[in-house]
């Protein structure tokens, strides 16, 4: 079945350490790819997105993500994590980009990030 997978349910890092959150998808064509962040009790905020072109995309709050077609992955990275980055992170996909998908998003299960001082 077509899906979006975030293999890590919970990640803990120390403040100042680097971070990589994994996302894999199982759609044949290149989808539109997104990362969202959700702080406790809040809505979802868009961090970054990939539609086409340069496979390394920059987002807000110092985050970046790299699209790797051969691995069907879109991993999120940050070189130095701040305590305020503690939140839940969601990878999301529009499977039939450019087609008649009506822009419907399919989400991964989410990764909860805990930051230790």
């Amino acid at each position: 079945a077509q899906s979006v997978t975030q293999p890590d349910i919970h990640i803990t890092v120390s403040e100042g350490a680097s971070l990589e959150l994994r996302c894999n998808y199982s759609y044949g064509a290149t989808p539109y790819l997104f990362w969202y962040v959700q702080s406790p009790g809040q809505g979802l905020q868009l961090l970054l997105k990939y539609f086409s072109g340069d496979t390394l995309v920059q987002g807000i709050k110092g985050f970046e993500a790299e699209f790797k077609r051969s691995q069907s992955s879109f991993n999120l990275r940050k070189p130095s994590v701040h305590w305020s980055d503690a939140a839940e992170y969601f990878c999301a996909v529009v499977p039939n980009a450019g087609g008649t998908s009506y822009g419907k998003l399919t989400f991964g299960q989410g990764t909860i990030l805990t930051v230790h001082p």
Binding site: F34, Y36, L44, Y102, L105, G110
Partner: protein
Amino acid sequence: DAGITQSPRHKVTETGTPVTLRCHQTENHRYMYWYRQDPGHGLRLIHYSYGVKDTDKGEVSDGYSVSRSKTEDFLLTLESATSSQTSVYFCAIKGVTDTQYFGPGTRLTVL
């Protein structure tokens, strides 16, 4: 901020009662969506709309209906609420760049 509001923000209701959640947008977007968020499942699409009176089902539509009689409002109705519908409900709009922006959410508890 994509000008999306949801009401109510919190609701507690009893099994078997009807519930309607409202999503309101101020920027005339054509596409609107309802998702539910549950631990371990991320967000899952309930229904979506691609215009006034144009709606379709998503992945988890059983037990839910929607209506869109004007561009700015997208209503989600639980005809007879069940405990399995306890969740956080998010409305979203799709902007011109094929990017979705989300409302603040409604926390619904069905006792």
